[in-house]
Amino acid sequence: MRQALGRTGWYGQMVQGLDADRAAQLDAGLARVRARFIASLSDRIDGFYELLGGLQDGGDWQDVTADLRANAHKLHGISGSVGFADIGKKAARLEARIDSLTGTPASADLVEIRGLLNQLLDTMEQSLDAA
């Protein structure tokens, strides 16, 4: 796994300044977290599709956007820390767009949110395929 992770980018930054033993220790820990994150992607994708359905069928937008925001927030927090910066950025965009809603969203708002969610889902699926 250590070799697979490489020594550059996010991983190189994570182990920077550590001696070999400590780096190996962190190596193992990061590999474990990354593997669990990848394993969780499929369920996260399913959860987002469910919420996308809620947005499309005119469900309770408040509940749906609150759940969507909570899921995007969590994804934003963890993705970049385990080497999936693109997912993190798209999740952050979705989160910020939902935060910008004031009052009942116009249909254009929901279209935009659906668009951002679709972009996020595309990136998650691509990452899952590549992992």
């Binding site: 996010w10 930054q13 994570m14 182990v15 920077q16 300044g17 550590l18 400590r22 780096a23 220790q25 962190l26 193992a28 820990g29 990061l30 474990r32 977290v33 669990r36 994150f37 969780s40 909570a70 927030h73 969590k74 934003h76 927090g77 963890i78 993705s79 970049g80 820390s81 385990v82 910066a85 993190g88 952050a92 989160e95």
Partner: protein, 326 residues
Amino acid sequence: MKILAVDDDELIRELLLATLEAHGYSDVVLAESGEDALRKIAMASTPFDVFMFDIQMPGMDGIELTHRVREMAIYRRSPVVMITAMNQKDYIDRAFLAGATDYVTKPFDTTEMITRIRLADRLQAEMQRTAIAAAAPARPEKQKSSFAHPIAIEEIKGYVSQGVLQNYVMIMKEQKQFAIGAFAIRVPELEHVHAGSTTEEFAYVITDVAEVISDVLVGSQAFVTYVGAGVFLCVGPKRSLPEVETMQDQLISMLNDPDLVYCEDVKTSFSAQIGAVAAPKLLERREDLRFLERAVENLKQCPAHEALGLGRAERAAGRFVSAHAA
């Protein structure tokens, strides 16, 4: 160093544990919520040295958790590092106002995170020294703290220690969300107060003056610290800092409010000098805090002393107002 790390995301908790342990912090306790954290704090056989709280969690969030921890005497001054994916100024300000001492953002930059933990470690050591000094029996007058030294002040809205203020400034500089500015306020009469009072009495007076400054700065989103020698340093968004003249008028009026009892035997006749605002320079590194020193240096441009009765224009020009009876 014993650390309590709280985050509702299991993967983040695992990541924190792996990172902290690899950097030599082996005594790490994890909690999944604010409520879980309070249980673990209550059950701890030895106190925690540093806290790391996620801001946004279901149930009790990190800001409320910080409030609750600050209510515990043993943790009143302990370092609290907030961790969150958010970087909006509003969240940062609320976290610092709740008593947070530092802030890291997700996704984690490990080098940065460990730097913040080491700073927290230093802050904890500094706070322990202050607490030990405060708990020590009254010292003979000749051993009184030097006038030049800062004094720990607690529980004033917007007041933070020097270390915390520096952390706040570094975060603001890093996030480049707005232009920050710093200015210093000197109350020259505090030197005489110091000379004629005990350490405890002087601390009361400094606390009251800090409270007045905090009241004057309300709404400006500024933070204040006492740097010693009668000087308070204020930092906030440049655009919302009050006008010097407005501050001077309010400061003088409030510092000399007859209802404000500083301490028996301490004359309540204070003036105030307000230095020009100093700002970070372009391309300055995040850790470069020299503009804070420049803010204090700017006090040297203030006239040494003027008596009450000068016209407003003259006072404004000198950036100095005295409330001494003519």
